[in-house]
């Protein structure tokens, strides 16, 4: 039994030790906004916020997350920074199939809050852990730069 906080709710998971966090979120808690792309920690589709930082839910064991605070894309429904990013992602056509999008947004939000002065080169470097096969990244980069610029005023 593992107790952790998921999207603000204290949750007890009873899953086999080999279950990774993404499977526990998706299969046990029904939070299917966290997507699986590679299960090797490379593609970033499963990115969630773990204790305040982006993390790969596919290479974190659920049982190792006791006491952790986890936020999935569903947990950002009323987050103001995420609302800015959502609007910017639509305005800049930063998504096509939408599969990488939840992980991309969680990484993007971290960039916006952690590196308010990031330029394009820095944004691209920070996105290195999130693969998108549809957009060629330009719309994603532009959306993040637009939110950074708006927040700088």
């Amino acid at each position: 039994m593992t107790t952790l906080t998921v999207n603000g709710i204290e949750t007890t998971l009873d899953v086999p030790p080999r279950t990774h966090l993404a499977d526990a979120l998706r299969e046990t808690l029904g939070l299917t906004g966290t997507h699986l792309g590679c299960e090797h920690g490379v593609c970033g589709a499963c990115t969630v916020e773990l204790d305040g930082s982006p993390a790969r839910a596919c290479i974190a064991f659920a049982a190792a997350c006791a006491g952790a605070v986890v936020r999935t894309i569903e947990g950002f429904e009323y987050d103001s920074v995420m609302a800015e990013l959502r609007a910017a992602f639509t305005a800049h056509h930063a998504l096509q199939c939408g599969y990488c999008t939840p992980g991309m947004l969680i990484t993007a939000r971290d960039i916006v809050l952690r590196i308010p002065g990031a330029d394009e080169a820095r944004v691209r470097r920070e996105l290195a852990g999130n693969l998108c096969r549809c957009t060629g990244y330009q719309g994603i980069v532009d959306a993040i730069l637009a939110v950074l610029a708006a927040r700088r005023g």
Binding site: P16, R18, T19, R26, G30, L31, T32, G33, T34, H35, L36, G37, C38, E39, H40, V42, C43, A45, T72, I73, E74, E77, R86, F89, T90, A91, H93, L95, Q96, C97, G98, Y99, C100, T101, P102, L105, E120, V123, R124, R125, L127, A128, G129, N130, L131, C132, R133, C134, T135, G136, Y137, Q138, G139, I140, V141
Partner: protein, 779 residues
């Protein structure tokens, strides 16, 4: 085309209707589907590329959980035959039968409560393998006595030959170019893999299958053929699809297997492909080899082209495109956008012990563009003419449109020289040449161009000629006004990122004036939509766009008739605009009022009202089956570090013409995303195999997909030449971006290496290949 000023019709950069659900994590992909009692499936896949299957030993405790070919006695193999003369037929068993022919071929299907438990059971199954020699290289496969399919006389799936006697030109041409080029085997790598959920519905006597599929109606036809069920007994639902690019344009053995299994065990079943399966069993595209001889005059005019091409077609013929489409297309499209008159091309589709080939975004075009554009740079080098001028001398000119080329392709419209001029000008080649002239150190600048045209939305006559199981006819769409005035559109094609929920709503807005927010697109469900071959071949904007327009036009007439009656106006005098029916005097009724009258207050209508009502099915075909020809020129600068072999992309410019764009923002997105994939093809993506045909890149740490840091900012120069063949002048352009980059980048790298006497003739252009080329040149 103007969008009528509303900012919402054809031609508008309307934000996408589908974005909201994806941005909130509410998209519904196949792995998100839950059915009570659902069980999980894992496949035991052959670890050897070519081996006979001896005894399969399943522990007694797990016998009921494991199914092999010997259980699937009532399932027919997958058969994708081509009618092309000389095509060799082979069957693809749903589970391997007798032997395995590539690594990752499914041998057993295991069902359990969880995927992990199913994989545990797979690990307990023992198979007595009898290894056979593995065919890993297509040239060797042509020479050996080992057979992928024993009943064949050799390993050639199909040989094609476009013949011409070039001896007169060969004897006299002042410039003769010879090149041997190779492209790597790739894995298309959508971020979401394939996946299937299947359930047998006893009440409806129907298999219901959710699958991440680009062409659900074709999947249903294939399932019908393999499972012996009639079409009415099968419903295929394709939910949100996490990228396709061709990878999901196929009938899967796994779909057939799970369809059979759901009925057999009486429980819903699910299989979700993992990345290891995707990479190890399904690196299935792009592998070409070219032997090119080109003849030119001293002015750089291409006189004739002679080519022998091979495509590694892998072990089976995939449904519905077959194992020969790629190579046969090489023969027909290698001439590119150029207007030379003499051509000879022999192609071989060669069977090997690798996964069966599928058409990947751009299909053969990416390889042939690399081939012909390599030839163009070679002519430039041999004649001393600059790289833009040599192409301008050979391109089909706008005043020659429509132009029938040497392989009888009819280019519908466009200005190819202008596209090249714009791309080259935006790159600013003179400044880059000056930079090159000053370079003496290890880092060298290179400049590259490519230009191509892309046949899209080609139809019945073209595909009838291939003789494959799928021939597109009239594309159909349904338009239905609901009682409260919402417009439901139903199409049989399916989006896997193309934004059709938005662009087709824009089409409806252009015809009916209805707000796109009041339009819902129903697609991806064979029970709810008209038959369609699906989304592939850069066809949906043309085909579904035309069909939706046709359905809306018929619906508009019926709406107008009812509206005229309500307005007490002459039937022919009213207009349908801005979501209303408007009488000459300005009086109007809304579509909602019209719909309410038809459905809820029919007593208000006269007896002679059209009884067909507000529900329309209409069909559409462009004016020619030969397809539209979008085109683009790519121009790029690179720097090559000759000490490390590392390539850095500099400025990258595309001048493209997709005709009238239904939504230019979406078209830009297609071009940018395709270009990123083309950059992957050029520099990074390769599935290497060892001598036993074992795939060597089993995770995304080994198979390199370009990230945000590898892709430069790309500038797009827009041109818009309406196609004379289509409803709005739109052209198929979804694959375009993936075609041009390998040619432009390879030319740029070789331009950088030229002063050092080195040249790379294979993709991807990895640091190792560059350093080897430099070593061969004595550097």
């Amino acid at each position: 085309m103007a969008d009528g000023g509303s900012g919402k019709g054809v031609g508008a950069r309307l934000p996408r209707k589908e974005d909201d659900r994806f941005l909130r994590g509410k998209g519904r992909f196949v792995a998100d589907i839950r059915i009570p009692g659902m069980r999980e499936v894992a496949f035991l896949r052959g670890p050897i590329a070519h081996a006979r299957i001896g005894a399969i030993t399943v522990p007694e405790a797990h016998r009921a959980a494991v199914f092999t070919a010997s259980d699937l006695t009532d399932v027919a193999p997958i058969r994708a035959y081509s009618g092309l003369k000389g095509f060799r037929r082979s069957d693809q068993p749903v589970l391997a039968t007798g032997k395995v022919r590539h690594v990752g071929e499914a041998v057993a299907m295991i069902v359990a409560a969880t995927r992990a438990e199913a994989e545990d059971i797979a690990g307990l199954i023992d198979i007595a393998w009898e290894p056979l020699p593995a065919l890993v290289d297509m040239a060797e496969a042509r020479a050996t006595t080992t057979r992928v399919h024993e009943e064949w006389p050799d390993n050639i799936v199909l040989e094609t030959f476009v013949d011409d006697d070039l001896s007169d030109i060969a004897a006299t041409a002042p410039i003769v170019i010879r090149r041997s080029l190779r492209t790597a085997r790739q894995c298309m790598s959508p971020i979401e893999g394939r996946g299937v959920v299947a359930e047998w519905d006893g009440r409806l006597d129907q298999l219901v299958m959710w699958s991440s599929a680009q062409m659900p109606h074709i999947t249903r036809s294939g399932l019908s053929e393999c499972l012996g069920l009639d079409h009415g007994q099968i419903r295929v639902i394709s939910p949100d699809v996490g990228g396709g690019f061709g990878y999901k344009g196929i009938l899967l053995p796994e779909e057939v297997a799970l369809g059979w299994l759901a009925r057999r065990i009486g429980a819903p079943v699910r299989w979700i492909e993992d990345r290891f399966e995707q990479l190890s069993a399904n690196a299935n595209c792009r592998e070409h080899a070219y032997e090119l001889t080109a003849y030119a005059d001293g002015e750089g005019t291409l006189l004739a082209l002679d080519c022998e091409a091979m495509v590694d077609a892998g072990a089976y013929s995939s449904y519905p495109f077959s194992a020969c489409l790629e190579a046969a297309q090489i023969a027909s499209i290698l001439p590119g956008p150029y207007r030379f008159g003499r051509y000879r091309c022999r192609t071989f589709s060669v069977a090997t012990n690798k996964p069966p080939i599928l058409p990947y975004r751009g299909v053969a075009r990416t390889g042939v563009c690399y081939a012909i554009e390599t030839v163009m740079d070679a002519i430039a080098e041999a004649t001393g003419i600059d790289i833009e001028t040599v192409r301008q001398r050979n391109l089909v000119r706008s005043e020659e449109m429509p132009y029938t080329n040497v392989t009888n392709k009819v280019f519908d419209s466009g200005d190819y020289p202008e596209a090249l001029r714009r791309a080259a000008a935006a790159l600013d080649i003179p400044t880059l040449r000056a930079q090159q002239a000053s370079e003496t150190g290890p880092v060298r600048t290179g400049v590259g161009l490519s230009i191509f045209c892309e046949q899209g939305a080609h139809g019945t006559a073209v595909y009838h000629g291939w003789g494959i199981p799928m021939v597109p006819g009239h594309e159909q769409a349904q338009a239905r006004l609901t009682p409260d005035g919402v417009l439901e559109l139903r199409i049989g094609a399916h989006s896997h990122g193309q934004g059709m929920e938005t662009s087709l709503a824009q089409v409806a807005h252009t015809i009916l004036g209805i707000n796109p927010a009041a339009v819902r697109l129903v697609h991806g469900d064979t029970a709810l939509t008209p038959y369609s071959t699906g989304t592939w071949g850069s066809r949906s904007a043309v085909m579904s766009g035309g069909a939706v327009a046709a359905a809306c036009e018929t619906l508009a007439k019926r709406i107008a008739a009812i509206g005229a009656h309500l307005l007490q106006a002459e039937a022919g005098s009213v207009r349908v605009e801005d979501g209303s029916v408007v009488a000459p005097g300005g009086a109007s009724v809304t579509l909602r009022e019209v719909a309410h009258t038809w459905y809820r207050a029919p007593q208000l209508l006269p007896r002679d009202v059209d009884p067909a009502g507000l529900d329309v099915t209409a069909g559409y075909k462009p004016l020619s089956d030969g397809g539209t020809f979008s085109y683009a020129a790519h121009a790029c600068a690179v720097t090559v570090d000759t000490e490390t072999g590392f390539v850095t992309l500099g400025r990258y410019v595309i001048a493209e013409d997709g005709g009238v764009c239904l939504n230019p923002m979406i078209v830009d997105g297609q071009v940018l995303g395709g270009t990123a994939q083309g950059i992957g093809t050029a520099l990074y993506e390769e599935m290497p195999y060892d001598g036993e045909a074992q795939p060597l890149a089993a995770s995304l740490a080994d198979y390199l997909l370009p990230g945000a840091g590898e892709i430069p900012r790309i500038a797009i120069e827009h041109m818009e030449t309406p196609s004379p063949l289509t409803r709005f002048g739109q052209k198929g352009i979804g694959e375009s971006g993936a075609i041009g980059p390998p040619a432009a980048i390879a030319n740029a790298v070789n331009d950088a290496l030229r002063p050092l006497g080195a040249r790379v003739d294979a993709l991807p252009i990895t640091p190792r290949r560059i350093l080897e080329a430099l070593a061969r040149a004595g550097r």
